[in-house]
Amino acid sequence: MRALRSLTPFARRLALSAFALWCMFPIYWLAMMSLKTQVDAMARRPKFLFAPILDNYLTVLSDPAIWTYFANSAIVALASTALALLIGLPAAYVLARYRFRANADYGFWILTTRMTPPVAVLIPFFVMYVKTGLIGTHAGLIVAHVAINLSIVVWLMKGFFEDLPGELEEAAAIDGATYFQAFAHICLPVVLPGIAAVAILAFLFSWNEFLFALVLGGNDVRTVPLGLYAFVGYQQVRWGELSAASIVLLVPVLLFVLIFQKQLIRGLTMGAVK
């Protein structure tokens, strides 16, 4: 048993590193591809060593369209994440902390909004958006993404709220706080790490969402996944540009994740005093 214990840290690190390599390898391959000519990228014996070129990055970065995609995605993903939190957190809180008759059914109804396969609802959505003028607007796509992500915000945050000790609100009530103050000032700060994790998820889901962005955003609000898909053309795939653009557009996403991670860790240390 002792031997096993001393082995554990090593085995653990091995597993963590292996998983990291596994996560990175396709991205590494994509990054390498972005530095290759098309001939090298497809080479018969895959090339690990090659003369790198920057042409793909120059092409991609000098194309103003890529910045439009970035701006559209940033606006839609940030706004829809913020809005999903704003709307989802209160709902998650009462579902987690309050017993009332429709509690379970309401929670489940929110969940069903994620279950519907998109094929059947695309046309109704399109018609609805055309009629209300939301088609091809940032606002329209933001709202659609909030609807897609609300369920995950509510259900994940419900878990974090449920883990809080029951005395929190009692203590707040004794101090004369209203129901809302107990929620906003007492409970919310404690679940910050949870919020950070959920925000990262909602952001990524929105950033990479394809189908609704395609049908509801269209050419007016072209987001990153649509923009990148354009490199997959008729009878040709422009590998160099596809890989370079996806690497360039990965950077802001990573920045966002890192910023929230900091928040997450800070929240953790704050939470430790509870």
């Binding site: 001939v39 018969r44 046309i123 395609l214 269209g218 898909y229 354009a230 997959v232 009878q235």
Partner: protein, 465 residues
């Protein structure tokens, strides 16, 4: 030969003057179409001259001045060649054109949603499934525009210049026309020249020759032949068709019934399956055009058989290791029957719900006219106009040998067989069943008779509904 080559930076546009004169018969002596790269088409020094090419048409170009139309298309050589020329159209007509360009997958996924939802835009769009679009009443019949003297000048437009296969594409079974052809592709054989030479072999004269050749070229290192076998409607059915048709078979017979159970069709599928099983690369069952093309361009496979359009990629040194080392050839015939390679013309049409139909027509006519086709061909676009194929600019760009092979295959193709299947309102169901059958034969899970027998059942059922 009075041939002019102007340094034009990135965009080489040289027009053999005599053929161009024949093509446009408008250009004043001494002029040539040259475009300086980096400058938009309307800012070129000779934009006035370019505009003159259209001025001779007895058409009221300015009739719909001030309107705005939306052009819907996919990431495709036609869009890439024509969109940069649009400023010329706007200058000519005063009509603004908004371009809505998507990848093929996005386009074919979002267009049914938009048009099915009753959208009035795009006004002009590339037609991804003609039979469906006509049945669904998404397309405006074009005959009324053709009969309107203010909108159409037949002499100037010169329809006889358009390939007959393309003109037959434009005629629907009800006699009306719902779209204009914008490109021309034919199934073409690509062969790795040095691999042929190394074994002292030459291009095949018959289907059986092709099989022998492919098997002879297969080695540990290199596969003999790669063709599409992925089980989706947009993959294997297109290349298989050249084989089925050349054996005398059909996907859909002329009287509109399933032709899959015909012995001739089965023979075509059998040969296709044999080629890929006996001489294909490992994993051929998941190959779409992308895998076939990559393998060929990397010298991993000796023979390919796909769209003539791939010539521009195959001959591009930055993409291909076999540039300058490829022999383009005709699809061989099976014993005693004419070879019937498959073919394809992309078409564009007008949205039946469009609010700017006349403007949309003017655009469509402009885009398919001789001058525009010549300009587009100069950047390598395979248009359906014979005159454009003759220009040296096009032949330089596309490759003379590839162009000749493509033309021969186009002329050998049987447009009616193609139309019976691909323009059927149930085309997607039919092609889906064919795709699965090809895949089953290639993987060896069924023989050709059983695979097409089962597909035949599915198609019959779909046709009844």
């Amino acid at each position: 030969m009075n041939k002019m080559k102007m340094p034009t930076g990135g965009l080489h546009l040289t027009v053999d003057r005599r053929s161009f004169l024949r093509a446009t018969s408008i250009l004043a002596a001494g002029g040539a179409i040259t475009l300086r790269s980096g400058l938009p088409v309307h800012a070129q020094e000779n934009s006035a001259e370019l505009l003159k090419l259209y001025a001779d048409a007895k058409v009221d170009w300015q009739k719909n001045k001030g309107q705005t139309i939306v052009l819907g298309g996919l990431e495709h050589p036609w869009m890439n060649a024509v969109v940069p020329l649009i400023p010329l159209f706007t200058q000519l007509t005063g009509i603004e054109v908004k371009v809505d360009k998507q990848s093929e997958t996005e386009f074919s996924a979002s267009m049914p949603v938009k048009l099915g939802g009753g959208s009035a835009t795009p006004d002009v769009f590339m037609i991804w499934a003609l039979g469906q679009a006509i049945s669904a009443k998404w397309l405006q019949p074009l005959d009324a525009f053709r009969n309107d003297a203010s909108l159409f000048d037949a002499a100037w437009y010169d329809e006889p210049d358009i390939f007959s296969s393309a003109r037959s594409f434009e005629k629907w079974s009800d006699g009306a026309s719902y779209g204009l052809a914008i490109t021309a592709e034919a199934q073409t054989l690509f062969m790795n020249k040095s691999m042929l030479d190394a074994k002292g072999l030459s291009a095949p004269a018959s289907m059986d020759d092709l099989l022998k050749l492919a098997v002879a070229l297969k080695s540990e290192e290199v596969a003999g032949i790669a063709m599409r076998a992925k089980p989706t409607g947009d993959a294997a059915p297109w290349t298989l068709a050249g084989f089925v048709f050349s054996y005398g078979g059909a996907y859909v017979t002329k009287d509109g019934k399933s032709g899959l159970a015909m012995p001739e069709s089965i023979a075509g599928l059998d040969m296709y399956g044999k080629l890929l099983r006996e001489a294909g690369p490992v994993g051929i069952a998941s190959y779409h055009w992308m895998e076939c093309l990559n393998d060929f361009m990397q010298g991993a496979v000796a023979i390919g058989c796909d769209s003539s359009n791939f010539a521009t990629d195959i001959e591009d040194k930055s993409k291909s290791t076999v540039a300058g080392n490829t022999l383009f050839g005709v699809l061989p015939a099976s014993e005693g029957k004419p070879a019937k390679p498959n073919m394809w013309h992309w078409m564009a049409g007008i949205n039946a719900k469009s609010a700017n139909k006349d403007a949309a027509w003017l655009f469509l006519m402009w885009a398919t006219s001789k001058p525009t086709s010549t300009l587009a061909a100069a950047v390598g676009l395979a248009t359906p106009r014979g005159s454009a194929w003759q220009t040296s600019a096009f032949r330089d760009r596309f490759g003379a040998q590839a162009a000749d092979a493509a033309l021969k295959n186009l002329q050998a193709a049987d447009g009616d067989l193609f139309k019976a299947a691909w323009f059927h309102p149930k085309a997607p169901e039919i092609l889906d069943a064919v795709g699965i059958a090809v895949n089953e034969v290639v993987t060896g899970s069924k023989d050709a008779t059983k695979a097409f027998g089962d597909a035949d059942g599915k198609v019959r059922q779909a046709l009844e509904m």
